[in-house]
């Protein structure tokens, strides 16, 4: 846009520019810039995003206090969302932690986080608390994420990669960039889960402006995070998605698993909308990245 500036006539304040004081020159430039913006908006000249991609003038700005609603009056959760909580490292409050692989140095260290658990406590049964410590000690070989396995619910929602919600009357679909994981949320109850799965069996309904999703039928293979927090296949999750503004929602999940915990417990975190004009999920098909770990021992010649 800088090229537009010389084109504009000087308002009176900019006359004899060289004789102006520093403050007066700033004011002059400010006004010239405002003129340039106004003029270019009027001409529909290139308004470009940070990557210099043209932004379509057809798009409407969302008013800052308006949540977009569908024809059915419900908030529209459509869009690309992402957690900033760092909870995938550890859902409990945690200080920064050294890398599980020395060679990675600071790259592999866990950033600190305040956690996402109400009361900051996972009410493990005593055997389970020991199991979690063992999981943590062996996380490099045990964490399903290392092998690019599907992450389950709720972990998928607070990984460090975005996901996208598509909302219709009959189905709310969630697609995750990580491993191309997919969830179908049935808005018409189809009955119980026919078999255990990695991403579970989700049945949703609206309570006012909150989408409530009951998730059953998850197998026992997934973890809640990279720190070894785990569950059994009796896991029952009740999620709540509530939009708080056009660009963020509060995600809550009540966790119940009588085989592992002494009572139910709850997590809560904001999910932020990715607002870049042309943001999109891209492929993170990570199976290839895990093949050396999974099959390297069966190679014809070891990789040097």
């Amino acid at each position: 846009m800088a090229f537009i500036l010389p084109m504009f006539p000087h308002p009176g304040i900019c006359a004899h520019f060289k004789e102006l004081t520093f403050d007066q020159r700033s004011k002059c430039l400010h006004i010239r810039i405002e003129f340039a913006v106004l003029f270019s908006l009027m001409l529909g000249l290139c308004a470009c995003d940070g990557a210099n991609n043209p932004v379509s003038n057809d798009r409407q700005l969302i008013e800052s206090d308006q949540i977009v609603r569908g024809a059915d009056g419900r908030p529209k959760l459509d869009g690309i969302w992402q957690s900033l909580a760092g909870a995938n490292w550890d859902i409990r409050a945690h200080a920064a932690a050294s890398p599980v692989l020395d060679e990675l140095g600071a790259l592999g260290a866990a950033p600190p986080g305040l956690g996402i658990i109400e009361d900051n406590e996972i009410p493990y049964q005593s055997w389970a608390a020991e199991q979690q410590s063992e999981n943590f000690a062996n996380r490099l070989s045990l964490d399903p994420e290392v092998k690019c396995y599907l992450p389950g619910v709720p972990r998928a929602n607070y990984m460090d990669q975005p996901f996208q919600i598509f909302q219709t009357t009959d189905f709310v679909m969630i697609t995750y960039q990580y491993a191309g994981a997919v969830r179908t949320i049935h808005m018409n109850d189809p009955g119980p889960s026919p078999a255990d799965s990695w991403m579970g069996w989700s049945i949703g309904h609206w309570e006012g402006d909150t989408l409530v999703v009951e998730v059953t039928g998850q197998n026992d293979q997934t973890w809640f995070d990279r720190a070894g927090n785990f569950h059994s296949n009796a896991l029952h999750v009740v999620e709540r998605y509530t939009m708080m503004s056009p660009n963020h929602l509060i995600y809550e999940a009540e966790i119940e698993d009588p085989e592992v915990f002494t009572r139910s417990w709850k997590i809560s975190l904001p999910l932020y909308r990715r607002v870049e004009e042309t943001v999109q999920l891209m492929n993170f098909k990570c199976v290839e990245f895990a093949e050396e770990i999974l099959y390297g021992d069966l190679r014809k010649q070891p990789v040097e």
Binding site: S56, F166, M282, V287, Y295
Partner: protein, 336 residues
């Protein structure tokens, strides 16, 4: 797009397209139960509703069999005979064979879900163009590439996981595409539609194709993806999806990474979604070629296909290859 001016343009395009649709020869021929009066239901934002779980389970082959050269369509009686013969051929459950053959016959009707019907049009191939129903010849460069691949495969069938097909590694099923073709089983895809996106999820291997409708440009040319980069728009009642940015790993019937794929989805009946795709790839094929598959509404829901998480088979293949090498080495060393 909410401006009144654009809505009326949409209506105009719709009317013109409906007239053209009747005029397009192969599509008219394609509808033996010609219901060109079918009025497709609309979504809340005024576009044809293409949603549902659809099945591509048809037993019509991609290419016209050589013995049917020149015969574009079967009669009703011929179709019945053909279906019975194909279904029998697919069932390899004949156990009156030697035990080696028996063990190799791992798959039979218990596993296959290829369907039992040919396409409703009774065309003898899924390819509708060229007229001979066959994939056009490969260019010399593509031919060379295919030969090199085959030669490499002969010499290195299983040195490591990357020598095995993408499907065996649970990375990608070629027939899930894009473009989509019938396969052995899990021939289902779930199409979900919002005002800004089309979402197509293939059951095998839970690939989600996210197709924006907002006119944004394709991904930058240096970004190549197995699923490519897709952009959609409406032409009358037809959803048109353009896909580019492929990698050189999928090798779709010899295609190059610069394949330009155009898919068309048109709901021609309550339970039939006409799926058509055209391959434009002058680096690989001497001519463009077009396929039509009338997808049929699937019975029931779609389920999770967690392939990689349960992939014992690939370990078996690699371990088997290492074992064969060990046996060969022992045989060479002789009885000492």
């Amino acid at each position: 797009m909410n401006r009144p001016m654009l809505i009326s343009l949409d209506h105009m395009v719709n009317t013109v397209a409906a007239m053209l649709l009747v005029a397009v020869p192969h599509l008219v021929q394609a509808q033996s139960t010609d219901d060109s009066n079918y009025v497709v239901p609309l979504t809340p934002d005024g576009h044809p509703d293409l949603q549902g779980i659809w099945s591509n389970a048809v037993i019509t082959p991609l290419q016209r069999p050589l013995e049917l050269a020149g015969k574009a369509f079967l009669s009703e009686e011929e179709a019945e005979e053909y279906e019975q013969a194909r279904v029998a051929a697919n069932n390899m459950d004949d156990r009156n064979v030697d035990s080696d053959t028996d063990v190799r016959r791992a798959y039979n009707h218990f596993w296959w879900d290829r369907g039992t019907n040919i396409v409703v049009t009774r065309r003898t191939s899924l390819i509708v163009d060229p007229a001979d129903g066959r994939i056009p010849p490969l260019t010399a460069a593509a031919q060379r590439r295919a030969e090199e691949r085959a030669e490499y495969g002969r010499l290195h069938p299983a040195d490591g996981p990357e020598d095995r097909p993408l499907m065996e590694r649970c990375i990608h099923l070629n027939s899930a595409g894009p473009p989509m073709l019938p396969s052995a089983y899990n021939n289902n895809y779930h199409l979900v539609q919002t005002s800004d996106y089309i979402l197509i999820i293939n059951e095998m291997i839970h690939d989600a194709r996210i197709i924006p409708l907002d006119g944004r440009p394709q991904l930058p040319a240096n970004i190549r993806q197995l699923l490519g980069s897709s952009r959609g728009h409406w032409e009358g009642d037809t959803l048109v999806v353009e896909t580019t940015n492929f990698t050189n790993k999928t090798n779709f019937r010899g295609a190059s990474e610069n394949m330009h794929l155009t898919e068309r989805f048109t709901r021609v009946d309550d339970d039939i979604l006409m799926y058509e795709f055209t391959v434009n790839d002058p680096e690989a094929f001497e001519l463009p070629w077009t396929v039509q598959i009338p997808s049929v509404r699937a019975d029931g829901l779609m389920y999770e296909y967690a392939c990689h998480e349960g992939n014992e088979g690939l370990r078996g293949v690699l371990a088997g290859a290492r074992n064969e090498e060990a046996l060969a080495r022992e045989a060479q060393q002789g009885p000492n």
